[in-house]
């Protein structure tokens, strides 16, 4: 075996934006590849969503829920309850898995903190996109949800999912080293997610009833603004959480 003498790198420098984005993409691809091989988070989330949809389907059949303003609100609430709890089941996985497999040290030494946050955020967003799609289809089929405006409905699910991803990513980083991770995750997520969930439920109910985007425009604006605020704050705070 031969050993080559290699020239060490120059002194450390603040990573450029492009370097951070490339590193974030690498974190996302690594986590996605691991997830596709283990299916740990996705299986748990989809199973939870499917079970909830079946239970809700049985329950609403017994009640004989007829289409009304209240019925639409109930359907929208149940859809978001399923999405929220399925998300809480799986979205902490990114950081918790790193902690459980003790790979955090290797990642901390190699990756810029902002890249880690962005990569994990992208993974949560991708998982929520799949989860939102599957849960919505299950509700439409099993709970016989009729969608007034498919575009408004899709945008409400996407904007709500954006809020969930932005909030749960930083919370997952906070709870990764704690005991009772799942319980703590739910407790911390609840106050942060209640305001956007109320808006998401109302907006989704409206999208089930009406055709067109105008009735949900305000709700969409609120959810996007809330997501941006949470995302930017989380990105600024992440370094302190990561290096604590």
């Amino acid at each position: 075996m031969s050993v080559r003498s290699e020239q060490p790198v120059a002194g450390p420098a603040v990573p450029a934006l492009r370097t951070i984005l490339v590193a974030a993409w690498a974190v996302f691809v690594k986590d996605l590849r691991t997830e596709l091989r283990t299916r740990y988070a996705l299986n748990a989330m989809v199973l939870f969503a499917a079970c909830t949809a079946v239970m809700v389907s049985i329950g609403t059949t017994f009640i004989g829920l007829r289409r009304s303003e209240e019925a639409l609100l109930i359907q929208a609430s149940l859809l978001w309850v399923a999405l929220l709890f399925a998300a809480i089941t799986g979205l902490s996985r990114g950081f918790v898995h790193e902690e459980e497999t003790r790979t955090l040290a290797a990642l901390r030494l190699a990756a810029p903190p902002a890249a880690v946050y962005l990569g994990k955020f992208l993974l949560n967003l991708a998982l929520l996109a799949v989860l939102g799609l599957i849960t919505s289809v299950l509700f439409i089929i099993l709970v016989r949800v009729q969608v007034g405006s498919p575009l408004a409905f899709l945008l409400m699910i996407a904007a709500g999912s954006l809020c969930l991803a932005a909030a749960t990513t930083i919370l997952a980083a906070i709870i990764a080293r704690a005991s009772f991770k799942s319980a703590l995750f739910a407790v911390l997520a609840f106050p942060l997610l209640v305001p956007p969930l109320i808006i998401a439920i109302q907006g989704t109910a409206v999208s089930l009833d009406n055709a067109g985007l105008d009735p949900v425009r305000g709700a969409l604006q609120f959810l996007v603004a809330y997501s941006v605020a949470t995302f930017v704050t989380s990105l600024m705070l992440f370094r302190f959480v990561w290096e604590a």
Binding site: M1, P8, L109
Partner: protein
């Protein structure tokens, strides 16, 4: 003549867990081309000292800095200059060795093509096993891959905690050659209980439990 101008300064450093102090008032200075061996019984804080040097932990007192090009950096800031090998260092078991190295090269902002990664895997004795997942590796093979991880960015400072643990004779030979190459390129710090490894040190830091 050394490849890089690097200096490690440790001033009055103390560390402990809770009420228990592991060590205190540790002070030393290392320059490129020098090697430090940290020795002491189990629980004396050898691994903790290396974690402080790597910036993975903060000291309870004192300061650690790396100076290069006339600028001083904290261990956290100096992460791109540091390579760390330790039993605590875990890589991704669900990825192959090649995927692990590609990933760490990407997050470090390095360009490493397949040929470069193959050369590194050959160097640590994992040639031909790069496409196997780490879950199928023996503990000795994982230790070899830790060296590939630590050398990937050609660090100026190499921190080795129990460098030959789980390695066979050929693996120990790889470590010998890595240490020799690193001494030509920068600083090497070794934490060990093995009396045979004491000879690597220009300086020996003896920690007591």
């Amino acid at each position: 003549m050394h490849a890089v101008d690097i200096r490690l300064t440790v001033e009055g450093v103390a560390a402990g867990y809770g009420a228990r102090t592991l060590f205190s008032a540790v002070a030393l200075e290392l320059r490129a081309g020098e090697a430090l061996v940290v020795s002491g019984p189990n629980g004396s804080g050898k691994s903790t000292f290396l974690r402080l040097l790597a910036g993975l932990q903060r000291p309870e007192a004192g300061q650690i800095s790396y100076a290069t090009g006339g600028v001083a950096y904290t261990p956290r800031e100096a992460a791109p200059l540091i390579g760390w090998v330790a039993p605590d260092l875990m890589l991704y078991r669900d990825l192959t060795a090649r995927e692990n190295l590609r990933f760490f090269a990407a997050v470090r902002g390095l360009r490493r093509d397949d040929a470069a990664i193959d050369a590194l895997l050959d160097r640590v004795g994992l040639g031909g096993r790069g496409d196997d997942r780490l879950a199928t590796y023996s503990s000795g093979m994982v230790q070899r891959l830790r060296y590939a991880y630590a050398l990937l960015h050609r660090p100026a400072v190499l921190l080795l905690d129990e460098p030959t643990v789980t390695l066979d004779e050929r693996g120990a030979g790889v470590v010998e050659s890595v240490i020799a190459a690193q001494r030509r390129a920068g600083i090497v710090v070794i934490a060990t209980n093995d009396p045979r490894e004491l000879r690597h040190g220009d300086l020996v830091l003896q920690l007591d439990a």
